[in-house]
C-alpha cells in the first residue's frame, strides 16, 4: 500500500509518516499543493491524506483537479478546518473521508485502513482472504491451520496488496509502485525475494507466477 501524505506542518508530517510506515504503508510526503497535485496524478497511490491549508494550491483545489481529471484515488482530508460546512465542501469536492485536527493517530490509521478496505470492496473488520487473516495492528498473518506468522514491513505491505486484490494479475511494476516509496530503489529482483519469503510463510501455492505478466494471489488453491 502506498500513501501520499500532503501536510505542510513538517513536524506533524514526520510523525504521521513514521506512524504510517510502521503501520505498513509506503508513504511519500509533500508540503506543497502544486507538487501534491502532480504526484497524485502521476503516481498510482492507494490513498491520499490531504491537508486543506496548503501553500501554492489549497487542498480543495488539488482534490477538485484530480476528480475533474477522473482520478479516483481515495482521499482522506485531515484538517483543522472542521466546521460542518467545511466538511460538506470537502465531500462535495470528492473526499472519501474527513478527519479534524487534533486527531489521534489510531483513528487516522483506522480510518485509512477502513477507506482502503471499502475501496477494494471489503467489509469492515480485519482483512481476510483465501483463509488468511491479516492483523494490521501486530502485522502478522494467521494461516488456516491457526499458525501466526510475523511479517516484515515490506512483506506486510506486499501481502496486504495481494489480499486486497485477490485473483487479479499484478505486474511487478504495479507491485513495486504500490509497495515502495517514490524515491526507493525499485529493483524487481528484490521484489522476487520478498515474494519467495512470503510464499514460505503462507504457502507456495497461494501466489502464482505468470511468466511475463506478474503474480496472481489465488483465492482457491
Amino acid at each position: 500500500m502506498r500513501v501520499l501524505l500532503v501536510e505542510d506542518d513538517t513536524e506533524l508530517a514526520e510523525r504521521v509518516q513514521a506512524a504510517l510506515r510502521s503501520a505498513g504503508y509506503a508513504t511519500d510526503v509533500t508540503a506543497d499543493g502544486r507538487e501534491a497535485e502532480f504526484l497524485g496524478q502521476e503516481e498510482p497511490y492507494d490513498a491520499v491524506i490531504l491537508d486543506l491549508g496548503l501553500p501554492e494550491r489549497t487542498g480543495l483545489e488539488v482534490l477538485g483537479h484530480w476528480r475533474a481529471r477522473g482520478n479516483p484515488v481515495p482521499v482522506l482530508i485531515l484538517t483543522a478546518r472542521s466546521a460542518w460546512y467545511e466538511r460538506v465542501e470537502g465531500f462535495e469536492a470528492g473526499a472519501d473521508d474527513y478527519l479534524g485536527k487534533p486527531f489521534h493517530m489510531e483513528e487516522l490509521l483506522a480510518r485509512l485502513g477502513a477507506l482502503l478496505r471499502r475501496r477494494h470492496g471489503h467489509p469492515g473488520g480485519p482483512l481476510e482472504a483465501a483463509g488468511l487473516r491479516l492483523d494490521e495492528g501486530s502485522q502478522t498473518v494467521t494461516t488456516p491451520d491457526g499458525a501466526i506468522h510475523g511479517l516484515t514491513a515490506t512483506e506486510f505491505r506486499l501481502l496486504r496488496y495481494f489480499m486486497l486484490n485477490p485473483g487479479r494479475v499484478l505486474s511487478k511494476t504495479a507491485l513495486s509502485e504500490h509497495v515502495y516509496e517514490y524515491d526507493a530503489d525499485k529493483d524487481s529482483n528484490v521484489l522476487e525475494v520478498y515474494v519467495r519469503r512470503l510464499r514460505g510463510k503462507i504457502g507456495k501455492e497461494r501466489i502464482e507466477t505468470r511468466r511475463g505478466q506478474g503474480y496472481v494471489f489465488r483465492v482457491s488453491p
Binding site: R15, S82, A83, R87, V88, F91, D97, M105, A110
Partner: protein, 441 residues
C-alpha cells in the same frame, strides 16, 4: 393613528369638507344678500314715488290712487306700505286688517328689517324718515320674500348636492393619490420583509428621493453586518487553525510510545490538550455564530442532503443509514454555516450512537422544526436534563454526547429556539426535538 395612509386620507378629507362647507355658506349668503339688495332698492324707489305722491288732508297723509302699483291694493299681495306721522298712520289696502309695525325713523335716516307679515309671509321692510310739507313722516315699504326664499332653497339644495358629489369624488381621488404616493413605501416594506427572510441581498435603490437616504443606510448597514461577520469569521477561523496546529503536535506527542511507561505524564500532557481542544471547538464556534441577521437564507431542501452525504462518508465504516424527510423547497432565514453546524453536530451524534439507523425529519411548518432520532442506547432520563443546562462545563457533560450537543444548544439559543431531548418512541434511542422560530411578521 399609525398608518400614514389613513392619516393623510383623514386630514385631506376633513380639509375638503371644511373647504366645500365654507364655500357653500359663502355662496348662499352672497346670493341671498344680492337678491335682498335688489328687493330693497326696488322698495326704496317705491318709497320715493310714494313720498312724491303724498298729500296732506287736514293734517293726515293721503295717497292718491294711481301713485303706486295696484299690487299695493290687492289683499295680502305681499307688497305693503305704511305712512306714519306723529299723529296718525296710513296703511296700504293690501294689509287689510293686519298692521305693519313701524317705528319712527328720524328724517334722513333709513333702516332695513325682517318681519313676520300676514299669512306667514316673511317680509323685508324698508323704513325711511322724511320731512314733507314741514312735517316729519316715516315711510315703511314691505315685500314678501317667501317666493325668493323658495327659489333660494331650491338653489341651495342643488348646490349642496353638487358640492357633496364633488366632495365624494375628491375624497376618492385623493385616496387614490395617497395610495399611489405610498406605493414606493409599500414596496419598500415588502422588500424589507424579503430581506429579513433572506430572499434578497439588499433593498432596491430605485425609490423616491424622500426615502432614498433611508434605503441607502439600510443597505449600508446590511453590508457592514455581512462584512463584519465575514471578517470575524475569518479571524476566528484563522485563530482556530493557528491554535490547532500546535495542539495537534501536543496530542501526537502524547501518543508517543515513549510515554507508555509514564501514564501519569501522558495524562498531564493530554488532559489540558483535550480541554483546550474542546474550548476552541465550542467557544470559537460560538464566536462565529451569525444568529438571525437579515439577508440570510438556509435552503434546507438543498443543503441537508449534501450534509447527509458527508455524514454517510464519515460514518461509512459503521454502515449507519440516515433517513431524511425534508419538505421540498423548505427554506429558513438562517445562516447556512450555522445551520449546517447545528444539523451536522446533531446528526453526527445520532450516527455515533445509532446501531443501524438515524432519522431526520423537518416539518413543513413556519420557522424550522425538526426531529433527529437514532436507534442507539439513548440517554437515561436522569442524565438528560444536563444536556439542556446552560453553562455546564464541557467535561461535566455526558461523555461522548457532550461537545456536539453543547454546540448545537448554543446555535439553537442564538436563534431564540428551543431544543428538547426525549427517548425516541419508534427507534428507542435519543430523540432531539428542535424548534427555531419564524420571522416575527
Amino acid at each position: 393613528m399609525r398608518s400614514l395612509k389613513a392619516r393623510l386620507t383623514l386630514v385631506l378629507s376633513l380639509a375638503l369638507v371644511v373647504l366645500l362647507g365654507l364655500q357653500y355658506y359663502l355662496v348662499s349668503g352672497a346670493i341671498r344678500s344680492t337678491a335682498e339688495d335688489y328687493v330693497a332698492s326696488r322698495l326704496r324707489h317705491d318709497a320715493e314715488t310714494l313720498l312724491a305722491g303724498l298729500t296732506w288732508k287736514k293734517g293726515s297723509p293721503r295717497v292718491p290712487g294711481g301713485t303706486l302699483d295696484p299690487i299695493y291694493s290687492r289683499v295680502y299681495s305681499g307688497h305693503y306700505y305704511a305712512v306714519r306721522t306723529p299723529e296718525s298712520t296710513l296703511e296700504s289696502r293690501s294689509l287689510w286688517d293686519t298692521r305693519l309695525p313701524v317705528d319712527r325713523v328720524a328724517p334722513g335716516a333709513s333702516r332695513r328689517v325682517h318681519l313676520q307679515g300676514p299669512a306667514h309671509q316673511s317680509l323685508l321692510v324698508y323704513m325711511a324718515g322724511f320731512r314733507k310739507g314741514g312735517r316729519p313722516v316715516t315711510l315703511a315699504l314691505a315685500e314678501d320674500l317667501s317666493p325668493l326664499n323658495a327659489d333660494l332653497r331650491t338653489f341651495q339644495w342643488r348646490y349642496g348636492l353638487v358640492s357633496l358629489g364633488i366632495a365624494a369624488a375628491l375624497v376618492v381621488l385623493q385616496w387614490l393619490l395617497v395610495a399611489l404616493g405610498m406605493r414606493p413605501l409599500d414596496r419598500l416594506r415588502r422588500e424589507i420583509g424579503a430581506l429579513e427572510a433572506g430572499e434578497r441581498p439588499g433593498l432596491s435603490e430605485d425609490t423616491p428621493t424622500e426615502v432614498r437616504p433611508l434605503v441607502a443606510e439600510i443597505n449600508r448597514l446590511v453590508d457592514v453586518m455581512r462584512q463584519r461577520l465575514e471578517r470575524s469569521r475569518n479571524a476566528v477561523g484563522n485563530l482556530a487553525h493557528a491554535l490547532k496546529t500546535p495542539l495537534t503536535r501536543l496530542t501526537q506527542l502524547g501518543d508517543d510510545p515513549r510515554l507508555n511507561a509514564e501514564p501519569e505524564l501522558r495524562d498531564r500532557l493530554l488532559d489540558p490538550s483535550h480541554a483546550i481542544e474542546e474550548l476552541i471547538d465550542r467557544e470559537l464556534k460560538r464566536a462565529r455564530l451569525a444568529g438571525g441577521s437579515p439577508g440570510q437564507r438556509f435552503d434546507a431542501d438543498r443543503e441537508l442532503p449534501r450534509l447527509i452525504r458527508a455524514l454517510e462518508g464519515i460514518h461509512a465504516e459503521r454502515g449507519v443509514v440516515i433517513e431524511a424527510d425534508i419538505p421540498p423547497g423548505k427554506t429558513y432565514h438562517g445562516d447556512r454555516e450555522d445551520l449546517l453546524e447545528l444539523f451536522g453536530n446533531l446528526l453526527d451524534n445520532a450516527c455515533k450512537w445509532a446501531r443501524t439507523l438515524a432519522r431526520l425529519r423537518v416539518d413543513d411548518a413556519p420557522g424550522l422544526c425538526f426531529r433527529i432520532e437514532d436507534d442507539g442506547p439513548g440517554i437515561p432520563e436522569g442524565a438528560r436534563h444536563r444536556l439542556t443546562e446552560r453553562g455546564v462545563r464541557l467535561d461535566e457533560s455526558t461523555t461522548g454526547h457532550g461537545l456536539g450537543l453543547a454546540i448545537a444548544r448554543d446555535i439553537v439559543a442564538a436563534y431564540d429556539g428551543e431544543m428538547t431531548f426525549a427517548t425516541s418512541e419508534e427507534l428507542g434511542g435519543l430523540a432531539v426535538h428542535g424548534t427555531l422560530p419564524p420571522l416575527p411578521s
